[in-house]
């Protein structure tokens, strides 16, 4: 059942994005940015944690999860250290994704030949 939920939710989010992409002039860059901001907003409203409980990886593999992690890290930082914590904690939860993307991209592009 978990697997089906994950499939349906991730598919649903991608289908909505595809409808926006095909019917407006927005580029994929716009849509991913909007999804990230929506993730932060849903997290602010307290909805995103429920989505993760219900849909598991269906909610965490999406780019909106990035916004969710940024917001949660910022709030936890505020709880621990006040205003400074918003700045010093912002990336703690999403660090794995950002560092992973940078490191793998760099290593892989050193090895791979650029195509023409």
């Amino acid at each position: 059942m978990n697997f089906l939920n994950a499939f349906l939710f991730a598919g649903f989010a991608c289908a909505i994005a595809q409808i926006i992409l095909d019917n407006t002039k927005l580029t994929p860059g716009h849509i991913t940015s909007i999804y990230t901001a929506i993730g932060a907003l849903l997290s602010f409203l307290g909805v995103y944690d429920d989505l993760i409980v219900k849909f598991g990886a269906g909610a965490t593999v999406l780019i909106s999860n990035f916004g969710h992690m940024l917001y949660q890290a910022a709030i936890q930082g505020y709880m621990a250290e006040g205003i400074l914590g918003i700045f010093s904690n912002m990336f703690t939860k999403s660090s794995a994704a950002i560092a992973g993307a940078i490191i793998f991209a760099f290593l892989v592009s050193l090895v791979a030949k650029p195509k023409n």
Binding site: F7, A10, S33, T60, A101, S109, K115
Partner: protein, 145 residues
């Protein structure tokens, strides 16, 4: 032939984007990635006894590593053209855009090319993610919890 006729002729022969098919493909590809993620989390929990949070982080890393490697081999660009949002909206799209820009600008040198352009596409996601998280955090602080 008047200009109007010519326009009609052009629009008749321009291939129309198969919108419905795009949506179905995006649904299935995105859904498969969600399914795949849930499967890896399940496997990591079962075989290594990881907590759900740790398993989720490893899963994100695995998905990012796979999409970076596939981008470097050149498979991913074709797939993104076909599946569009099915691959762009999941974390695969983030990893693809970072690796893609790194590869595209590598020819301009490691500093001025790769270094300066690696976040060319993914930068907007990080920027607006941080800005929206910051503003919402401030709002929550101001209105009190």
């Amino acid at each position: 032939m008047t200009k109007e006729d010519y326009k009609k002729l052009v629009s008749k022969h321009t291939p129309r984007e198969p919108k419905l098919r795009n949506i179905v493909v995006a649904f299935f590809v995105g859904g498969l990635i969600g399914f795949f993620g849930e499967f890896i989390i399940f496997m990591l929990q079962e075989s290594f006894g990881m907590s759900k949070v740790i398993a989720g982080m490893w899963t994100a890393l695995i998905i990012i590593a796979i999409s970076s490697i596939l981008t470097a081999f050149g498979f991913f660009d074709n797939w993104v053209n076909k599946c569009k949002c099915g691959l762009i909206i999941p974390t695969t799209g983030f990893a693809h855009s970072v690796t893609g820009s790194a590869l595209d600008y590598k020819k301009d040198g490691l500093i001025t090319g790769l270094g300066a352009n690696i976040f060319k596409l993914a930068g907007s996601v990080i920027l607006y993610g941080v800005i929206s998280a910051f503003i919402l955090a401030i709002v929550r602080v101001v209105i009190g919890v």
